[in-house]
Symmetry: C2
Subunit: 243 residues, 2 copies
């Protein structure tokens, strides 16, 4: 039997996907044992994990590009979860980083409008996970800033206000949220979770993957393993098992 | 402006993809600093790297499922490369592992028919990369077999014949090939490239990623970085930059 004919007999498989939407902490999610790679490994044979991370972006820009990334067609059916992970740039200090800074109130409005957009393409709130920015280790990040000839352009307490607003949006909209800012500071020194005071270290990435998994697990629990386990294939008549 | 309206103004972005099609060595490609994760990281903002690895599968089963994984619609436009990486199971010894074994001649025919199928959906030979099975470290793999109550069910010399057939198919069909079996044994002890005598260790995975990259690089060199670098966004009027 020609392969094209075989393909016509078996339906094209719809491969579901998890979309990771965010800034540089998402764009780097497949680096060095990253949280994106960890999720992709856990979800292999169930769905793809696709990276829609944009270094340096804030929610003002993110809400503009979101409809260019996720459209109406087949979205709801194939997208099992979307993470929205911004705030590290929005919370940059206005005076020192006006390009990336987004006022606190607007940050919350932008998050709400992204959730609203996703719902309009049938990605319901139960499929959405907000992630707050991680805490900022000011001394380490200051070194990065100084190396570029800049002053410290973010404050941990300010980032904390954005994290709180993110949690409130999640509560109001009925989505899940991983409050990384709070979780990473809970009864522990959070410095080892960060590589440069702002981005995640391998340990921080593992921490996020574990926290995310507890939200994702219930969203993916009904997904079947795609195509049979090899020991279950009828090797005398494989097409019966595979088409 | 409502987000749905913004989406209508900017076109939905077609996100290209690299498809990794293979057996368990592909299915594990996002584990522990794996070769799939390394490629996904290198190709971030350019294309997705999706895992179509099926542990235990051989080319007889792979050719049946391929049309269920890659269909005609938009394939050529969105798929920039496909790796086909089988042989570790095909080359299992017939007497000791009849379920996974595929005769040498049929293995070559199956590879050819998969290339033929991809061409029929406009994924031309210049987008296809064959990968030969890695060498087998018999003593380590024998331990795995014995632990399951089996005898050693593969031989490195036999796997080498399959690797040679794979290289010949690539030559005949005009596709690229990464001859892992030969490269890993070239002037070096290959044991550190394997975790259990058959699957790749982190070092072996890095080796494969580096070898693959030299083939992939030219296939992806013309891909643009998707959406502008953040410093290039006009922050006074971001929609001009982003839509």
């Amino acid at each position: 039997m020609a392969l094209a004919e075989a393909g016509a007999r078996g339906r094209l498989l719809l491969w579901p996907r998890v979309v990771l939407f965010g800034d540089s902490i998402t764009e780097h999610a497949f680096q060095e044992w990253g949280w994106g790679a960890a999720l992709a490994d856990r979800l292999v044979r169930k769905c793809d994990v696709v990276n829609r991370g944009f270094s340096g972006y804030n929610t003002r820009w993110a809400k503009v590009i979101l409809p260019r990334l996720i459209g109406k067609s087949a979205s709801a059916e194939s997208t099992v979860a979307v993470t929205i992970f911004f705030g590290a740039n929005d919370s940059a200090l206005k005076d020192l980083n006006p390009k990336q800074h987004v006022p606190l109130e607007e940050y919350a409005v932008n998050l709400r409008s992204m959730i609203q957009y996703l719902k309009s393409v049938d990605i319901t709130e139960d499929k959405i996970i907000l992630i707050t920015p991680p805490p900022l280790q000011e001394s380490a990040w200051e070194k990065e800033c100084l190396a570029k000839g800049d002053k410290l352009n973010r404050r941990n307490s300010t980032t904390g206000e954005y994290a709180e607003a993110c949690v409130q949006v999640a509560r109001d909209c009925g989505t899940d949220v991983v409050d990384l800012w709070t979780l990473m500071q809970k009864d522990q020194d959070f410095s080892s979770y960060l590589s440069d005071g702002l981005h995640l270290s391998t340990k921080g990435s593992n921490f996020l993957a574990a926290q995310l998994w507890s939200c994702l697990e219930k969203k993916v629990s009904t997904l079947p393993s795609l195509l049979p386990y090899w020991r279950d294939v009828d090797h005398m008549n494989p097409e019966v098992s595979l088409l």
